[in-house]
Subunit: 208 residues, 2 copies
């Protein structure tokens, strides 16, 4: 674009951002260098700081600067319930409801065979070890001795989220864990006339 | 979003990128930290390198790592012609035509009174000094002694680009410079039926 390897290198680097193509990357590089060099340095420092300080919570797998995140470390939470979500944003959405006081497990992804994302690429083994811990001799604790008494699957109601929930449910049920799924149904405040048929059908099946 | 000031700081910083809102910034931060930490560091280093090494060409004002960019330093270019463009991308588009062998002046913007961008925010004074240099006693050189014999205005054919061209043309003509404008007209290869009326009207006026 202009007369500079540094500019070309910056444009190439910015293309690694999700959703940013060649034109957007060139526009971003031009904007930062021409109009907002302080922002360029702010972004650079924020990236370096985040990469060096953010790890996964050893309990729930979310991104945190501590070994155990503040949710997992909160003594007020009900440790017998574990809600499985795909991302921190999904966890935040559930937290905003103020309707859940248990703990979380954040998969940081979903099963997606077409993209090559299998059980080892999301935190499934870490989840299984959390729900079904082993005793001193390496045997799974019996269900009544486990801290987690209920696993609530709150993956998204997309094809991939449903498949992920299905795999987790099968694996955990076979190990004697109690597994539930968020109810599918008609969104609060919506008129049936405008709700899609699949949602109504599920709401009928899941009626209570 | 998650349990981290560093993540929040990164998300805020990424929002400084043009066209990136809160949701995009959060998605970018999550993607980099979860899936591509090498890219995060690559972007950080490219930003720092670009900010420290890229300046404006002392002759044409474009972004470059040298004092004088490679185009301005090229002895093959016709130094009597100066083509004024808004951005390096516009210059690159003209270069791709292989139809122009003169030099450029890159405004790095356009006049935009509504956004508070006036003559001092783009390189207008630098352009005027380039086209109408002063002699040893501070008087403008007479037209026949100037290096630049023709200024070709190639700002965009938008309202702001036209206004910018108008302001430059007035200022330079009053100083005795020869100023031309890229022809407006029907795009090559297009059918009149599908060309907008304003373009056809201009093509009629500018017929040759
Ligand atoms: Zn945690
Ligand atoms: Zn130059």
């Amino acid at each position: 674009m202009a007369d500079s390897n540094a500019l070309e290198g910056l444009t190439q680097a910015l293309r690694k951002l999700p959703g940013v193509g060649a034109k957007s990357a060139a526009r971003m590089a031009f904007h930062l260098l021409q109009h907002d060099r302080p922002a360029a340095l702010q972004i650079a420092r924020a990236l370096e700081h985040a990469v060096s300080s953010i790890q996964h919570c050893s309990l729930c797998n979310t991104l945190t600067e501590m070994d155990v995140c503040s949710t997992c470390a909160n003594p007020q939470r009900d440790r017998s319930k574990l809600c499985v979500v795909e991302t921190p944003a999904d966890q935040a959405a559930l937290e905003r409801t103020l309707a859940y006081k248990g703990l979380y497990f954040v998969l940081m992804g979903k099963l997606s065979p077409l993209d090559g994302i299998g059980p080892n690429d999301i935190g499934l083994q870490k989840l299984f070890d959390r729900v079904v811990p082993k005793d001193g001799s390496g045997r799974p604790l019996p269900p009544e001795s486990r801290e987690v008494q209920e696993v609530i699957l709150a993956t998204n109601f997309t094809a991939e989220g449903e498949a992920t929930a299905h795999v987790i449910a099968q694996a955990l049920k076979s190990r004697g864990a109690q597994v539930t799924r968020l109810a599918r149904g008609v969104p609060v405040g919506s008129e049936l006339e405008y709700v899609d048929l699949g949602t109504i059908a599920h709401a009928l099946v899941d009626r209570r």
